[in-house]
């Protein structure tokens, strides 16, 4: 039996002290298997990004343990840990240095993590851009000269550049039109297979989650209130908060509206 690639064991995070303390994450435990796409959904401020930041080692947990391939991660990470877990962010502009060309940003990632022979790296940059559906000559552009969607693809390319095992995706496609979103989600699915990647996928978009996640963790006010595989969770959401989330999704088809109202009907029985 192989250990899960990533485990969170009673992980908590508190910001500030005394009366000002914010309990952003409270005793969160879950395990992610290699090759899985675990989605984290929940209301704004429920602690999704806080958990993501702890997984990435941006800050350590206040208590609890995070394990990578069965080994506890230290509070200050080594380069190899940072390479193994990469982030694709909610706001692509803030994650790309505007003073650097797209190509230079990707090149820097390759240099830092020593990926490929240095003579090859210019070609690798072009190949990465093409892998995410951008022309190779975008390498010369500044991130400010790209649309929101184009920038998000660059951010995905940079995460791929590091050859990481785990990619934390924080709202990776919410800046994309649905056609491009479909292509990027397909691309992510395909990369998950070919590169044997594991995803932690944070999003508010339950329609996306429904179609891409293998399992779903539902967060509310710093706690995980439900964890289940995608089919089961949508067919039979156990927690009223999960029901409320699903029944608030704006939809376009009648079948979806029917699903929504059947869940909302169940909701009236359980609350108020």
């Amino acid at each position: 039996m192989t250990a899960p690639i990533l485990e969170l064991d009673a992980v908590s995070k508190t910001f500030g002290t005394g009366a000002d303390a914010v309990h952003a994450a409270q005793s969160i435990s879950f395990a992610v298997n290699r090759g899985e796409c675990l989605a984290i959904v929940g209301e704004s401020g429920s602690g999704k990004s806080t958990v993501a930041n702890m997984i990435l080692g941006i800050y350590p947990p206040s208590s609890g343990e995070i394990r990578l391939n069965g080994t506890a991660l230290p509070a200050s990470r080594k380069l190899e840990h940072r390479r193994a877990i990469q982030l694709v962010q909610q706001n692509p502009l803030s994650s790309l240095n505007p003073k650097r060309s797209i190509g230079a940003s990707l090149r820097l990632a390759l240099d830092v993590h020593d990926i490929g022979a240095s003579a090859e790296r210019a070609n690798l940059v072009g190949a990465l851009l093409e892998e995410v559906g951008l022309p190779a000559d975008f390498a010369r552009r500044s991130p400010t000269a790209l649309s929101g969607g184009q920038r998000q693809r660059v951010a995905i390319a940079r995460a791929l550049a590091c050859q990481s095992e785990i990619v934390v995706l924080d709202e990776p496609t919410s800046a994309l039109d649905v056609l491009v979103q479909a292509r990027v989600l397909k691309l992510l699915n395909q990369l998950r297979e070919t590169r044997d990647l594991t995803f932690v996928f944070i999003t508010h978009d339950l329609s996306v989650v429904r179609n891409i996640a293998t399992r779903i963790a539902v967060f509310e006010k710093g706690r995980m209130v439900e964890l289940g595989d995608t089919e089961t969770l949508f067919a039979n959401p156990a927690h009223p908060y999960t029901r409320r989330l699903i029944s608030a999704v704006p939809v376009v088809t009648l079948e979806e509206a029917a699903l929504r109202s059947s869940l909302a009907a169940g909701l009236e029985e359980t609350t108020e």
Binding site: L146, A175, L245, E256
Partner: protein, 292 residues
């Protein structure tokens, strides 16, 4: 007959770069009446945000941008205004909610100070105490429960959704005639998003605010907008009342877009070409009564 709040006619835009001239907008026309909610949807990179930036007078200041056509705000040609007059409009008569809250909130100032600045645009003599009181009231309207903590915070101390609600509150603070919302729901969860849309709807109705709403979320557009424009590669390809466009999309690009929406009922990620020669077909217009 009323004057539209916003009337864009045959707007063109290109950028001068090292490698030559790139045309981005090929002559788009759209209008928003007082109190109307109009959505602009379509391809990433098709020119939605640059259109918004031109209306706000932000791209005019960029040396590489070449802008043609006309933009009328409450019947006045924007081109005829000088920089100071344009600045005076912005944040008062028209305001904007940006795609990326972290790039429009200043990271080095507390939310309270940024609110004070915004309110001073409409009322230069407002005191700090009065500004904070007003800010707390507006934050409560966008269901921020602990306004005091939020006002005291720097943007990095708040979640993405909280920052976005702060931005929405700031944009509404001076009761603008035109609100441009560029992806206002991106960082919001669905329950808050629903509340936010309700709030925006209330504002529109109470103050007769015109809203130009840019979004990729077609479910949200369907629930929120009165009219829809679909844009593809710098051209409007379909326009009409929301119901008509959703129930009978005619342009091949609009049809592809609708088919690509991920369904809450599952079925996987649809396999649809991102590009097709058919997408170059001419403009489809649905008439005002919504008959397809």
């Amino acid at each position: 007959m009323s004057t539209p709040t916003l009337d864009i006619r045959n707007l063109t835009l290109g950028f001068k770069g090292y490698t030559g001239f790139t045309e981005v907008l090929h002559g788009i026309s759209l209008s928003v009446e007082p109190g109307e909610r109009v959505a602009l949807v379509g391809e990433s990179g098709s020119g939605k945000s640059v259109t918004a930036r031109i209306v706000l007078g932000l791209l005019q200041e960029l040396r590489t941008a070449r802008i043609g056509g006309s933009v009328l705000f409450e019947g006045r040609e924007l081109d005829g205004l000088n920089k100071r007059e344009r600045h005076a409009l912005r944040g008062k008569a028209m305001s904007m909610i940006f795609q990326d809250p972290t790039s429009s909130l200043n990271p080095v100032f507390r939310i309270s100070d940024q609110f004070h600045d915004v309110l001073r645009r409409a009322d230069p003599r407002i005191t700090r105490d009065a500004a904070l009181e007003r800010a707390a009231a507006i934050l409560a309207e966008v269901s921020v429960r602990d306004a005091e903590r939020v006002l005291n915070a720097f943007p990095f101390q708040l979640s993405g959704g909280l920052n976005q609600r702060v931005m929405i509150a700031m944009a509404l603070a001076n009761e603008p005639a035109l609100l441009i919302a560029d992806e206002p729901g991106t960082a919001l969860d669905v329950t808050v998003q629903a509340q936010t849309l309700q709030l925006m709807r209330k504002l529109v109705e109470e103050h007769h605010t015109a809203v130009l709403f840019i979004s990729h979320n077609l479910g949200v557009v369907r629930e929120f907008a009165d009219r829809v424009y679909v844009i593809y590669k710098g051209r409007i390809v379909e326009q009409g009342p929301t119901r008509a466009v959703f129930e009978g999309p005619r342009h091949p690009y609009t049809r592809a877009l609708m088919a690509a929406v991920p369904r809450l009922t599952g079925g996987g990620i649809p396999d649809i070409d991102e590009d097709s020669p058919d997408f170059g077909a001419p403009l489809e217009t649905h008439d005002a009564e919504g008959r397809a």
